[in-house]
Symmetry: C2
Subunit: 326 residues, 2 copies
C-alpha cells in the first residue's frame, strides 16, 4: 500500500512529475502542473472532442520497446483518434504507470520523446498522474476541437459513396513483426512512429461524410463504418495501397494479413463521387497519399460489412477481420 515519506518537498511523485513533465507542460492551462487540474477555454462555436487510448507493455508494444517508440505510439494512436473526427488537437492528459522495468534513464528518455511527439502535433500537455505498478502502462486522454456540428463520425456514410484510405496499409502489421523479431525493414518506422494525417483530416470535414482511423486492421475498421452507417462496402483489394515491403508480402500470398493487421493509424474516408479532385488536391498539398479503394453499397440487415474482391471479381475470404489486443 501507500508508503509514508518523510518530507513533502522530497516526495516521489511530485518530484518525478516536476522533473519529467513540468518543464514542458502548457503553463496557460496546466499552471506548471501545480494544481491537480488544468483549465481550457474552448473557442466559441466549437465542439470539444475527447478520446483516450491506453498501451500496456507486452500487449500493445514489445516489453523491451525503446522509450521513443512507446512515446511515439502513445501519441500517434491517440492523435489518430482525433484525426478520425476531423479534430484539431488542443491538449492532453497523461497517465503513466511505471513498472519495475522502467528506470530513471528510461523515464528521462520517454519524457524527452513524449515532448517531441506532442510538439510535432502541436498538442500541449495539460497534466497527468504518475503511479507505480507491476507492469508499465501509458494512457493518454486527448482533446481536440471542431467547428460546432462538424465532427466526422463513423455513422455518416451513405450508399454509393467512394471509400478512400490514406497512406499505405499493412505497414503497422509488418513493422510490429520487425519490432518483435528485432529485424529491420522500412515498415518498422511506420509501426514505431505512427504518423496520422491530422492536418489533412481537418480539411476533410466538409468534403467527407464518414471517417475512421485504421487502428485495428483495415477490414475490421471498414466494418465499423458499415455497422454504424447501416451499409456494406465493395473494396477492390488490388487498389489497396501497399508499400514496397507490403507488395512483396502480398505477392508471397499473405495479402490477408495486411488487410486485417492493426496499427496503421491511417484514415478511411467516405465521400460523394465528385469530391475526388478536391480531396486529391488537398492530399497533395498535405503530402498525404490518398487512394480510392472501393464504394459503399446498400446492405441487407445483418450483412453490414466490407467485402474485398480480387482483380477477377472473386470475393476474398479473409480468415479474420482485424487485430485485437484482447
Amino acid at each position: 500500500m501507500a508508503s509514508k515519506q518523510s518530507n513533502g518537498a522530497k516526495d516521489g511523485e511530485f518530484d518525478l512529475i516536476k522533473r519529467l513533465f513540468a518543464p514542458f507542460a502548457d503553463a496557460s492551462t496546466a499552471g506548471d502542473l501545480q494544481d491537480d487540474a488544468a483549465r481550457f477555454t474552448s473557442p466559441p462555436a466549437h465542439d470539444l472532442v475527447i478520446s483516450t487510448d491506453a498501451l500496456v507493455s507486452g500487449v500493445h508494444f514489445p516489453d523491451n520497446a525503446a522509450p521513443e517508440m512507446v512515446a511515439a505510439r502513445l501519441v500517434g494512436a491517440n492523435v489518430s483518434d482525433l484525426a478520425a473526427q476531423g479534430a484539431m488537437p488542443v491538449g492532453c492528459v497523461l497517465t503513466l504507470c511505471i513498472g519495475p522495468d522502467w528506470d530513471d534513464d528510461f523515464l528521462d528518455a520517454f519524457a524527452a520523446a513524449f515532448k517531441h511527439c506532442l510538439a510535432r502535433f502541436d498538442m500541449p500537455l495539460w497534466g497527468g498522474d504518475t503511479v507505480r505498478g507491476a507492469q508499465s502502462l501509458v494512457s493518454l486522454t486527448v482533446h481536440g476541437i471542431v467547428p460546432q456540428g462538424e465532427m466526422l463520425a463513423r455513422a455518416g456514410a451513405r450508399p454509393d459513396q467512394d471509400v478512400y484510405v490514406t497512406g499505405t496499409i499493412g505497414d503497422g502489421y509488418l513493422g510490429l513483426h520487425h519490432a518483435l523479431n528485432q529485424t529491420q525493414g522500412a515498415s518498422l518506422q511506420a509501426y514505431a512512429v505512427p504518423n496520422p494525417p491530422i492536418g489533412f483530416a481537418q480539411q476533410m470535414r466538409q468534403l467527407c461524410s464518414a471517417a475512421i482511423d485504421v487502428s485495428d486492421g483495415l477490414a475490421g475498421d471498414l466494418d465499423h463504418i458499415c455497422t454504424a452507417s447501416s451499409l456494406a462496402m465493395r473494396i477492390e483489394a488490388a487498389r489497396v495501397p501497399l508499400s514496397t515491403e507490403g507488395v512483396a508480402v502480398a505477392e508471397a500470398g499473405d495479402l490477408a494479413s495486411l488487410l486485417t493487421g492493426g496499427d496503421d493509424y491511417q484514415l478511411v474516408l467516405c465521400a460523394d463521387t465528385g469530391r475526388g479532385d478536391e480531396m486529391a488536391a488537398i492530399a497533395e498539398k498535405c503530402g498525404v497519399r490518398l487512394t480510392c479503394i472501393g464504394r459503399t453499397v446498400a446492405a441487407q440487415k445483418g450483412a453490414e460489412m466490407a467485402e474485398f474482391y480480387d482483380a477477377e471479381g472473386h470475393l476474398i475470404d479473409l480468415p479474420t477481420r482485424g487485430y485485437r489486443h484482447f
Copy 2:
C-alpha cells in the same frame, strides 16, 4: 502481444465495453460509445477544468477490494479534484486495465457501482479504453466547467485569511486500516466511499481565494497551498475536526497520523475574514460540516508551510507531512 480474433462482431474489447459501459454512456456526447471519441459543447463563457487520477490495485486500494470500493474511490478521488477547483462535473473518460484477478462477476459489479457513482455526481461517461494487464488499474479523466476566470486554485491565498476545512480529517487514514485489516469502524465508509463536497465547492468560488482537496494528508496539502501562494499557515490542531473514532485515536496520542494520513477527500478553503457567516450558511444548506482551523500568515522564503500548534501554543512536530503512494 495482440491476438487475432476470428470475428469482428465477437471480439473481446468491443463486446466487453458494449456490455459493461455502453448501456449508461451519455448518448449525446459519446454516441453510444460507438466512435472512438466523444463530443462535448462547452457552454459560452465557461472554462473547462480537466483532471486525472489513476488507482493501482495493491497500491491505491487493497488488492482484495470489493468492486464497489474501487468504483467509489476512483470516482470520489477524481470528483474531489474538480471540487478543489470549484468546478461542476460534466463528463469523464475511463481507462480500465483488467488484471487476472478481476473476473466477469467483478467487472459486472464494478460497472454497476461505477454507474451509480457517476449518477451520484451527475457526471456522464463519455468513453474510455479497456485493456488487459498483469495488474488491475483504473484511471479516470474528469471534466468540469466553471464560469470563465473563476476557477479556484492553490495559488490564490493571501496572508491573514481564514483557513477552513470541510468534514472530518483522518477518517480516510483510519478507514484504510480497517480495509487492510478487515476490521469494522465508522471511518471505513469514509475510505470506501469518499464524498467530496462538490456542490458546496461550486458555491465557494466567489467567497474563497484558494482551495485544495485533502487527498495526500492535511499537512501536506496545506503545504501545497502555502508553496503555491508563497505564505505559511498557523493551524490550531485542537480545532481540526475529528470523528468520534478520530477523537479516540487523538486521545491515544496519534493525532499526527490523522493530520498527515491521506484519502480524506475533504476540501481546504482560504477566505478573507468576514466571509465566515456566508460560508457557514451555505455549508449548512449543503449539509457540509465547515470548520475554521487557523490562519494564513506571511512567510520567510523557504518556510512556506503549515505549522500546527497545540492548545498550549506549542509547535507540534509532525514526523511526516503526508501520505504518498510513491
